[in-house]
Symmetry: C2
Subunit: 136 residues, 2 copies
Amino acid sequence: MDEFKLDRRLESDSDTVMQTGLCDLRLSKDARWPWLILVPRRTDVSEIFELTPLDQVLLTFETEMVASALKKITGATKINIGALGNIVRQLHVHVIARFEGDANWPNPVWGFGKAEPYTADKRDDLIEKLREALSS
Amino acid sequence: MDEFKLDRRLESDSDTVMQTGLCDLRLSKDARWPWLILVPRRTDVSEIFELTPLDQVLLTFETEMVASALKKITGATKINIGALGNIVRQLHVHVIARFEGDANWPNPVWGFGKAEPYTADKRDDLIEKLREALSS
């Protein structure tokens, strides 16, 4: 089996939060929304149905653990979950905290406007809170 | 437990395809993309993590069975899967066949332009193919 290698665009557009059982968990560099990305450490997979059934279950549980933590930490109105991959084909799942009246509410975040950078403090604080919530 | 009742907007914007173990499977009335919607027959659930772990697994397997069938039937470039719910809060999962150069490629389908109706023939043909693929 080839060694897992994170797609370059995913790597440049997000910061690492932690590793979960199956995935690399990353925070998008776009501060307009608290936006997480789970990347299963599997090679040559673009669609969830290409994962083994066990990996599909792991991905679901890890996605929902992350979604539930993000909801708790941010008090989001709604969590948006999506696996699109029209641009980056390496399988990845978005978990985004949405708020009534946010930058593109109620439409999706993908492809909308330009990313706004985090301040280092704000980013580190969010990553810290996520690590805490996900390790307890 | 309250009886499951399909959200009115989901009902008016889509046609029934079949029932799966957990979900009502429906076809969006928007012919711009082959677009399916899975609605778990559970009451008062907006987020996937509010389902029991078993229902989360069922939802994943049913979503991916549908995604895989849709890919086979349509020859799509990429399947897009999303659970947003910013407008309709009853939990539902979108499974959409995307093609390079389609109406909003590579951006998402949600909130883009206006739905285009199917001809009855084209809709019935797609539903028939889906039922066949999903019952074999």
